[in-house]
């Protein structure tokens, strides 16, 4: 099997102590891997490590292709329109404007963003901004998306729309690691759910949802919630 994402005993550290892991995980092309866990378990740290943004990383990890990290906050530049924000990674790499715009419109179409491209971030809703943030990750031709709580703060409709957008991207062969607390929602598109606990426990449980129906998926989500509640220390 050719893994798009592979990590073995990945441990992220800060100030000399481990803050995330150990994590051993694999994902194949087009797979959606959901990571859940209590606050402070190290989910964000794990994603940043996979994105190559963490400073102290031990263990082995490899990503086949171009990863894009979609941070917990949008990090859209408020002085650029959503379209220019999405085009930004291309333009700084020297892609000609015309070609950049062609690709921006491509990913915008995929996520239903086209009517919003000329808006400034403050004029767009939270859900639209989130999608723009995802689009900015995708536009460089990323084939791996590392998403940190993309549903946080979105209303039901926006969550649904983003979920559909992500499902469509997976259909196009884009591999995703999705960190979320919204397990009922994530279970609708997850191929697998992994539970991350604080070090030294790390990635501790794995549930496969492939081929399951809606009700069974919710059942798995409930099970994961129970596990996190039990292990989360409350």
């Amino acid at each position: 099997m050719d893994w798009v994402i592979e990590a073995r005993n990945l441990v992220v550290g800060a100030g000399g102590t481990p803050i995330s892991g150990p994590a051993t995980l694999r994902a194949s092309r087009g797979e959606i891997v959901v990571i859940a866990g209590p606050n402070g378990a190290g989910k964000t740290s794990l994603l940043r490590a996979l994105a190559g943004l963490a400073d102290h990383v031990e263990g082995y990890y490899h990503i086949r292709g171009t990863p894009a990290y979609i941070p917990q906050s949008d990090m859209l530049l408020p002085w650029k329109t959503l379209g220019d924000n999405i085009a930004f990674p291309l333009l700084v790499r020297g892609t000609p404007r015309r070609e950049a715009w062609r690709r921006v419109e491509g990913v915008a179409g995929l996520l239903g963003l086209k009517p919003h491209l000329s808006k400034y971030p403050r004029e767009a809703s939270g859900g639209t901004r989130r999608k723009a943030s995802v689009a900015r990750g995708l536009v460089v031709g990323a084939d791996v998306l590392l998403l940190d709580e993309p549903f946080a703060g979105l209303d039901v409709a926006a969550k649904g729309a983003l979920l559909e957008g992500l499902r469509r991207l997976a259909g196009e062969g884009i591999t995703m690691v999705l960190v979320t607390h919204d397990l009922l929602l994530a279970s609708r598109i997850a191929d697998r759910i992994l539970v991350l606990l604080p070090p030294p426990r790390g990635l501790s449980a794995e549930y496969s949802l492939r081929g399951l129906g809606k009700a069974e998926r919710y059942g798995v989500a409930e099970e994961v919630v129970e596990l996190i509640t039990r292990e989360g220390g409350f």
């Binding site: 994105a51 943004l53 990290y69 941070p71 990090m75 530049l77 408020p78 002085w79 930004f88 990674p89 700084v92 400034y120 403050r122």
Partner: protein, 249 residues
């Protein structure tokens, strides 16, 4: 600002002006030295040509000094981005410059450049505007970095790209806000240096009229200076600041 807000602001300024002129007029009726408002206004009207020249000189001094300050502040803020000792030194330098009194700057530059030169007024304006500009720029850079530093890393921007695309636009609101107060301060302070020297300008004329016991002239030029300040702030600086903040909030 809406139309209603603008109207209210105009009324507020008119009221404030009326109060100040009223107090002045009242004081004038008790003092045999202080001229009344009408006398000062008519003196100004009779000497409009002179007023125009002085205004021009003062504006030139101020703007020249301000421009030097902006260039210096940007250069040093850019250097401070290197971090470490350089950053600490730039900040310390700023505090030191800030703690030198205007009186000292004025006399110092007069000693250096001579009494008939316009350089002292320009330099004092620069020395006043500089710390304000540098503080604002440093703050803008720091906040933009805190907010968008991760994005620069995610996209692998070079230092130059980070500056051009993130730090410069990100700190623009801080830049224009500090430019507004720096230019105002430069104008108020440059006239002090003009007063000590002999190279013309509103400050020079204020001092001259005072020495000649021409108090009508003195009050007229004081009025001129206030008007210049207000016009500059309301018609130019405020608009520039609003432009720099257009995407915030």
């Amino acid at each position: 600002m809406g139309q209603q807000g603008a109207a209210r602001e105009a009324i507020a300024y008119t009221l404030a002006l009326a109060v100040i002129l009223g107090v002045w007029q009242a004081a004038a009726s008790y003092s045999h030295l202080l001229p009344g408002v009408p006398q000062a206004l008519s003196f100004l009207y009779d000497n409009l040509g002179q007023a125009g020249w002085d205004t021009l000189i003062t504006l030139e001094n101020t703007v020249a000094g301000f421009t030097i300050a902006v260039i210096l502040a940007l250069a040093l803020a850019w250097a401070a981005m290197l971090g470490g000792l350089v950053e600490e030194t730039v900040k310390a330098f700023n505090v030191v410059v800030q703690s030198v009194s205007v009186l000292v700057w004025s006399l110092l530059f007069l000693i250096v450049y001579g009494f008939t030169s316009r350089l002292p007024a320009m330099s004092v304006a620069a020395a006043t505007a500089f710390p304000i500009m540098l503080s604002g720029t440093l703050k803008g850079f720091e906040l933009s970095r805190a907010e968008y530093g991760e994005l620069s890393r995610m996209l692998g921007l070079s230092k130059t790209q980070e500056f051009a695309h993130i730090l410069a636009p990100g700190s623009l609101p801080f830049l224009v806000a500090s430019a507004r107060s720096a230019l105002g301060a430069a104008l108020r302070i440059s006239v002090v240096a003009e007063a000590f020297g002999a190279s013309g300008g509103i400050g020079y004329r204020l001092w001259l009229y005072y020495e000649l016991h021409n108090y009508e002239g003195f009050m007229a030029w004081a009025l001129l200076l206030v008007t210049l300040m207000l016009v500059l702030d309301k018609l130019v600086l405020e608009r520039v600041e609003a432009w720099g903040r257009r995407w915030t909030g």
